[in-house]
Symmetry: C2
């Protein structure tokens, strides 16, 4: 199983991907910080919980969706709960676990973060590429995902 060294094209694309993604995250985090808002990870979790609705989600369900480690989810949820943005409910048929549900102020916080986050996406992506280019980019990135997204 000899692994060959990467093509120049792969290296360039890799380097761009690394640099651009870090720049975009950094700029967006800066914008949130400047607005007195919590980090992106908070948005991700609140977003998932908002989509999940009243039924809420189990912490382990959040782990795969938000690409955070188990202990990261555990600690983030503790902070969100302390801030009253989510509530933890015991789950009847599994004494180990809990269900996490977003609260009204959690939804409000999500909207607040989105005002900045969405503007950042517009500025950093929407304004720089056309809809067709954005679709092309998404399709190419989808092929790099694990598991890859099939395009048709």
């Amino acid at each position: 199983m000899t692994k060959k060294s990467p093509s120049p094209e792969a290296v360039t694309a890799w380097a761009r991907l690394m640099r651009v993604s870090r720049q975009l995250v950094e700029k967006t985090e800066d914008a949130l910080k400047a607005g007195g808002l919590p980090p992106l990870a908070w948005y991700d979790v609140l977003h998932e919980l908002a989509e999940a609705g009243e039924g809420g989600l189990r912490p382990f369900e959040l782990i795969d969706r938000v690409l955070l480690a188990q202990y990261g989810v555990s600690r983030l949820l503790a902070k969100l709960e302390a801030d009253g943005l989510v509530e933890k409910l015991p789950v009847s048929d599994d004494g180990r676990g809990q269900t996490v549900r977003i609260t009204p102020s959690g939804r409000e916080m999500r909207r607040g973060i989105w005002a900045i986050y969405g503007a950042s996406i517009t500025e950093l992506m929407g304004d720089r590429l056309s809809a067709e280019e954005l679709n092309a980019l998404a399709a190419l990135l989808g092929r790099l995902r694990h598991p890859p997204i099939e395009n048709h």
Copy 2:
């Protein structure tokens, strides 16, 4: 200056970019760790220093190139020096500063990291997209850079 909310295409592309870049970094860092090698940031710095040659680089020159904060560079260089991978030389015409030069074992470490890193790039990018697609991806990402890359 009202910022409008992002198009669905921008949001999808953004989400993919965030997810894919984090996945690729994570997989690569895991591979390095499994090989008993230091993190990617070490490679970045060693790479820049190797390219700079015998003249070396000033720490502040590294800051922009590797997208690390000033204190991050300072601390990373301290570790690299402790491991004998770089050496710090006083610079004659500026008593505040220093020049950092890669050592032979630094070059060796760089090669060692690259054996894993390069294989990871091949596996995660080179094997998944054609050369044309990689170029297309790099071009699109270049437009998202700050400052953006002009394509011709």
